[in-house]
C-alpha cells in the first residue's frame, strides 16, 4: 500500500518548492556588495585622450553604474529604456564598457593601446547609433573592475549613494517598471539623506 503513495508524496514536495519559487524573482540576484563601499578603480574613459574616471569623482551625489558592451544583445533591448530615463536628468548614469573585445576577437591579442582605440571606436559608433544615456563611460577592457563588482552577466545596473556605498544591484535588462517602482524611489530617498 505504501509504495503507491511515493509519487504523490514526491509531487507534493515539488508543489511546495514551486509555490515558494513563485514568490521569488530569479533575476534578482543578491550581491554581497550591497551596503558596502563601491570598489575603487581608475579607468580610461570613452573619449579619446588620457582622461580617466574614478568613483571618487562622483562623491557627494547619487549615481548609477551600468555595465554594458556592444556585443551584448540584452543591452540593446535595455538601451532605449536607459536613454529615455537619462533624458529626465534625474540621476547621472556612468557606463562601464565591459570586456568590449572578446577572447574570440582577432584583435584580442593586440597591444593595450590598439585594443583601447578599437574598443573606443566601436563603442562610440554603437552609442551614436543607439543614443548615449551616459555622462561618461569607462573602458574595462580586461574585465578586472567587473570582477571586483561581481559582474554576473551584462547588462547590470548599480545604484551608488552619496557616500559611495552600493545600495542596489540588478542583473539583466532594466525595465521602465523597475525604474519607476524600485530605482526612482530609492534614488529619491538617497537624495534626501
Amino acid at each position: 500500500m505504501k509504495k503507491v503513495l511515493i509519487p504523490l508524496v514526491l509531487f507534493m514536495g515539488l508543489v511546495v518548492f514551486l509555490a515558494v519559487g513563485l514568490k521569488r524573482d530569479p533575476r534578482e540576484i543578491p550581491s554581497p556588495l550591497i551596503g558596502k563601499p563601491a570598489p575603487h578603480f581608475t579607468l580610461f574613459t570613452l573619449e579619446p585622450g588620457d582622461a580617466k574616471f574614478s568613483p571618487v569623482d562622483m562623491q557627494g551625489q547619487v549615481w548609477m553604474l551600468n555595465v554594458w558592451a556592444t556585443w551584448c544583445v540584452a543591452c540593446r533591448e535595455e538601451h532605449p529604456v536607459l536613454v529615455a530615463f537619462s533624458e529626465k536628468n534625474q540621476v547621472p548614469i556612468v557606463g562601464l564598457s565591459y570586456k568590449e573585445i572578446q577572447p574570440q576577437d582577432p584583435a584580442y591579442k593586440s597591444p593595450f593601446d590598439e585594443k583601447l582605440k578599437l574598443a573606443r571606436e566601436r563603442s562610440q559608433v554603437w552609442l551614436k547609433r543607439h543614443g548615449n544615456p551616459y555622462v561618461t563611460s569607462v573602458m574595462d577592457l580586461d574585465g578586472r573592475v567587473g570582477i571586483n563588482y561581481g559582474v554576473y552577466g551584462v547588462p547590470e545596473t548599480y545604484v551608488i549613494d552619496k557616500a559611495g556605498v552600493i545600495r542596489y544591484k540588478f542583473v539583466g535588462a532594466m525595465t521602465p517598471a523597475l525604474l519607476a517602482e524600485k530605482v526612482l524611489p530609492l534614488i529619491a530617498e538617497l537624495n534626501k539623506s
Binding site: M1, V4, L5, P7, L8, F11, M12, L14, V15, V16, F17, L18, A19, V20, G21, L22, K23, R24, P26, R27, I29, P30, T70, W71, R76, E77, P80, Q104, D105, P106, A107, E121, R122, V125, K128, G172
Partner: protein, 639 residues
Amino acid sequence: MIPELGNFALMLAAVVAVMQGVLPIAGTLVRNPQTQITLQSLARPTAALQFVLIAFAFGALATSFLNNDFSVLYVSQHSNSLLPKPYQFAAVWGGHEGSLLLWVLLLSLWTVAVAVFSRSLPLDMVARVIGVLGLISVGFLLFILTTSNPFERLLPAALDGKDLNPLLQDPGLVIHPPMLYMGYVGMAVAFAFAVSALMSGRLDAAWARWSRPWTVVAWTFLTFGIGLGSWWAYYELGWGGWWFWDPVENASLMPWLVGTALIHSLMVTEKRGSFKAWTVLLAIAAFSLSLLGTFLVRSGVLTSVHAFASDPKRGVFVLIFLAVVVGASLTLFAWRAPRVALGGRMELVSRESFLLANSVLLVVATAAVLLGTIYPLIIDALNLGKLSVGPPYFNAVFAPLLVPTVFLIIPGSVARWRDANVREIAHKLRWTFAGAVALAVLLPFVLGGWSLGAAFGLFLGCWVALGTAQQVILRVSKPGRIGASFWGQHIAHFGMAVLVIGITGVKCYEVERDVRMQIGDVVTIAPYTFRLNSLDEVRGPNYKAVRADVQVLRNDKVIEILQPEKRRYFSSAMAMTEAGIDSGFMRDLYVSLGEPLDDARTEWSMRVYYKPFVPWLWGGVLLMVLGGVLAALDRRYRQ
C-alpha cells in the same frame, strides 16, 4: 463586435465544458440504468459543441488580427499593419493569451477525435475519457477567462500594433507551437484513458490497446514539434547551436522522454498484461510534465531565453491547477492501483525485462532533466542562494543514461516475449555487433580524426542501424503480411540511430571560425573557402537588412553563394540574424553576420562554420515522425 462575440463564445464554452466534465462522469456513478445512458450519451454532443464554440472564439481572434483591429489589446501587442498576412494569422498564437486559446482549441479537437473514433469503446469508458478531458478544459478556460483574456479591449485604440516579435516571424516558428501543443495536449488523452481506467477499475489489455494509438499520435506530434524548435533555433538564432538545455526546451523534452517510455510500456501491458501500475503512472506523468512545462513557461519562476511576459497571478493559477489535476490523479492512483494493477510475472531476461529497463532509464533521465531544470528554484526556495544549471550538467548526466537506453533498443526488439535467452540473443546479434564495432573503429578516420568519443557514438548509432536493418531483412524474407506498426517501429528506431550518428558527428567534427571580414576577405575551412563578395542593403515588407554575399569555393570553383542577413525590424528596432546555410547530405556550411565593427559598416564580425552531419539530426527526427505515423496507422487499431 467580433471580439465580444469571441469572448462570449469562450464563456459559453466554459459552461459547456463544465457539463462535459460533470454529467457523463456522473452518469457512470448513478444506479438507474436509464439515467446512466442518458447522462453518458451527453459526452459526445457536449464535446462537439465545445469544439464549435472554441473554434468560433479562435476564429474571432484570428479575424481581429487579419482586420488589424488594434482596439484589441492582444492584437495591438502582437501584430502590426505592415506584418505580412500569414504572420498576422500566426500571430494569434504569438503571445501568452492566444497560445492558451490554441491550447484549448487543440484540446477540444482531440476530444472530438476521441468522440468520433471511439465507436468500438464501451459507452461508460467514452463517458469517463471525454469527461476527464472536459474537466481539464474547464481549468484552462477558466485560466484564460480570469487571467489571460485575449479579447480585452484597448481604449482608445492604438494607431498601430507593436508587431509580432521578429524572432517569431518565420515559417518554422509558425508551425512549431501548434505541433508542440498537439503533442502536449495529446498526452492529455493518454492521461484521460489512464484516469478513466483507474476510475472504472478495469486496468486491462483493452485499456492499453485503446490508449496506444492516441499516445503514439501525441508522441509523433511532440517529436515533430521539438525537432522544428531545434531546427528553427539553429538557423534563426545565428550561432549554429541546435539544443541549449533551456528550461523551456527541457519542458518539452521531459514529456517526450516519458511519452517514449509510455509507448513501450503500453505495448507490454497490452501483450502481456504486466507493468499495469507502471504504465498508468507513466501516462499520468507524461501529462503532468506537460502541465509542469506550462507552469514553468508561464509563471516566470525560471529565467529562460523564451521571454514570455510573466505574471505571478497566472503562476498561482497554473500551480493550483497543476496541484489539483496531478494531486487528484496520483491520489486516485494510490487508492486504486493496488487493487487493479495485479499483473503477470516477468522473467529476468525477456522482451518485457528489456522494455522495463529502458522505461526505467528513460524515467531516470527525465528525473535528471527535471532536477537540473528546477534545481535553481529549489536552492532559491531553501534560501541557499542563486545559481543556474548549464549544459555541462545536462550533458554529463543525460548522455550516460541515454547510452544504455539506445544500446538496449536492439536486444530488446530481438528478445522473445516471456522468456528469452541471453546466449541466443548474443548469437543472433554477433555479426551485427562485430559490424558496428568495425564501423566505429574505421569511420572516424574517414571523417577526419580518430577519437574515443567519436568511435563510441558511431558504434552506438551503427549498432542500432545495423540491428534494425537485420531484423527488417529477416522479416521481409519470411512470408506473411507485414503490419504498418512493424515498419513504424523499425523506421523510428532507425531514425534514432541516424540522430545519434548526427549528434556524434556534429559534436566531434564541427569547425567554428569567428572572424572579422571586409569585402574581398577570405576564410578557409579545408576544403572550403569562403569569400565575402559584397554587402548590400535590402528591404523587406517590415524590415531593412544588410545582406552579405558569400561565395563558397571548393578547388577554386564556386559551389554555392550564401546570403546571410542582418535584419532590423521597423517596429521594434530589434536586430535579427538570418544565417546563410548550404545543406548537403553530409554537412552544412553555415555563415551568419555578427555586428558591424566600424562606422561605415564595411567590416563585420562573422561566424563561418563547417557543420558536418547536421542534416542527419533533422533526418533522424523526420524518420521518427514517419515511424510514429506508420505505427498509429496500423490496421489493428481500426477494428
